[in-house]
Amino acid sequence: MQPLAISHFSIVNSLGAGAGSVASALRARRSGLAACDFETVVLDTWIGQVAGLDGFRVRSDLGAYDCRNNRLAQLGLEADGYAAAVSAAREKYGAGRIGVFMGTSTSGILQTELAYRRRDPQSGALPADYHYAQTQNTFSLADFVQRYLGLTGPAFVVSSACSSSAKVFGHAARMMAAGVCDAAVVGGVDSLCLTTLYGFNSLGLTSHAPCRPYDRERDGISIGEGAGFALLEKTPAQPADGAVLLLGVGESCDAYHMSTPHPEGLGAKLAMQHALDAAGLAPADIDYINLHGTATKANDASEDKAVYELFGAATPVSSTKGSTGHLLGAAGITEAIIAMLAIEQGLLPGGMHTQNLDPALHCNYLLDNRDACVRRVLSNSFGFGGSNCSLVLGVGG
């Protein structure tokens, strides 16, 4: 594919607001996970919660959109000068020539969960202050982001569970290649809610401790919340030194099971291979892999097989979910941005909380941070329904 310039990005999650905060937390090996005290949830698990969302409100002209997910979206748009960068792009291209492609798994479902507690005792009706289209509907996030940024181009939400906000890069690249838009706001937001906390618990997939990817004793995920955005533009003939580019996107389906990955990592391997092919690169060209690495028994075993088969034992890999938790529909964009920070800062982030590497896994999993020259990275995102997406990012030249 034609490489695209990632001219700006922003990130907010339990590690902090802004790329600087997230990078320093990774460098200092500070995790954002804490014992679950979210809302009225009573579960023995750990979460990565963003501070301050309860007291925050979305911009007043968009009040009907006010819900945890859109508050988090607004925090992301306000971080790292992102909204200002989009504003400049709007001047350059026109509001109608910038697409908005967002990933989310649960959108503003918390708003519906809370509204169901306040149903009219007689009629069962939902409360009058419940705004379905602006909060619950899966499109709500892209609708809010588009209005917040004053954009009017093509927009939609991709909701393919935990691959959602990785896949948006592919959608944006195709829309730009087809001439439907000249630039794209891509990203994803997922926020804590009862559906995912109780849902993953029902599957026996939530850890009782901070999640430990690649550990022999790993016992599941820690759910987190977060927002991330990137601005994609066409690459100038001579990209600036150090400018980070989207080089390849690879997508596949497991065709195996709704909530368990293919045991041999078949779909994962296809997605990584497609991403390398799209980038015109060989496995040896990749300096670091940010794994999906959820810390479930099944994910890490399956992903390890796929990565090892393609890359062998040399390429450094890690999962940053011990730091952020699993951000579900926002995991793809979050980890793509962490991969870009790895390039910018020359930092391979070591996985956190892992005590004893599982001897059954064979990849070169980093337990500590490592300083290195990083030019090209691959980031994996895999979701329920066997939906897989891999991204290759790197510096030009």
Binding site: E113, Y116, A125, L126, V180, C253, M258
Partner: protein, 264 residues
């Protein structure tokens, strides 16, 4: 962007399959609104079929019919799923359970709650490892899906099946988001003319608000207006008539799609 239509699948209120619906859509026979008949697709093994709700059955049945019509192998075709509502019954059950003192939701209900549940079941049933996406754009979900499928066909040069579906919410959600009927449709589209292609679509994304094409029949137009996935009806009507036509589909408040349909 030009695509070649090879197959159509359709399940809607009083619209029981593409072939049976063609005279109704073309205006050659009177339309009567009847409840949608959702036949369980035999694509899925019995065990999986029991675990799926109506929304998944609807999407799979529509997709399956389009592939039979197209004579194309689903295992080697990428898919774009699009829905405004997803599985509303499942959402209702989860929210009702979470509002009760016992918050235990079933694992099956949880994995079925993802917007890409039909895509997941589809890939398992068809053994397809091809890329698949699942979109939502509220009332413009069909237009967004068609635009995305067309861009994928144009850029990647490979066939794509679009599967659009909506299933009404139960109360209390029905009051705040009234969808009048179950509706599922599918188009199998290719980048080049093939033996099965019977029409071309030239799809353009246009800035500005424009009046969407309506159905001449009031009953069919009511379905179009009340179910986001049924916004496809004017396009299907043009395909049913088998003559060249231009169709406008609304895409939010700021844009629209212009689709030029021509037999081939």
């Amino acid at each position: 962007m030009r695509v070649f239509v090879e197959g159509v699948g359709l399940l809607g209120p009083g619209l029981n399959g593409w072939q049976a619906s063609r005279p109704l859509l073309a205006g050659d026979a009177a339309y009567v609104e009847l409840p949608t008949v959702v036949t369980a697709s035999d694509l899925l093994p019995a065990a999986e079929r029991r675990r799926t709700g109506l929304a998944v059955k609807l999407a799979l049945a529509a997709g399956c019919a389009a592939f039979v019509h197209a004579g194309r192998d689903a295992a080697t075709t990428a898919t774009v799923f699009t829905s405004s509502s997803g599985d509303g019954e499942n959402l209702h059950q989860i929210c009702a359970t979470l509002a009760s003192p016992e918050r235990e939701i079933s694992p099956t209900r949880f994995h079925n709650s993802v917007h890409n549940a039909p895509a997941g079941y589809w890939s398992i049933a068809t053994r397809s490892h091809e890329p698949s996406t699942s979109l939502c754009c509220h009332d413009a979900s069909f237009a967004a899906g068609l635009l995305d499928a067309a861009a994928q066909i144009a850029v990647d040069g490979k066939p794509v099946a679009l599967i659009a579906y909506d299933q009404p919410y139960p109360e209390p959600l029905h009051t705040v988001r009234p969808l009048s009927a179950s509706f599922g449709m599918s188009l199998v589209m290719a980048p080049q003319a093939t033996g099965h292609a019977f029409a071309t679509l030239d799809i353009s994304f246009m800035p500005g608000n424009a009046s969407a094409t309506r159905m001449p029949d009031a009953g069919l137009d009511a379905v179009r207006a009340r179910v986001p996935a049924a916004r496809c009806l004017p396009l299907l009507a043009a395909l049913a008539r088998g003559v060249a036509a231009d169709v406008v589909l609304a895409y939010g408040e700021d844009n629209h799609l212009r689709v030029a349909i021509a037999p081939c």
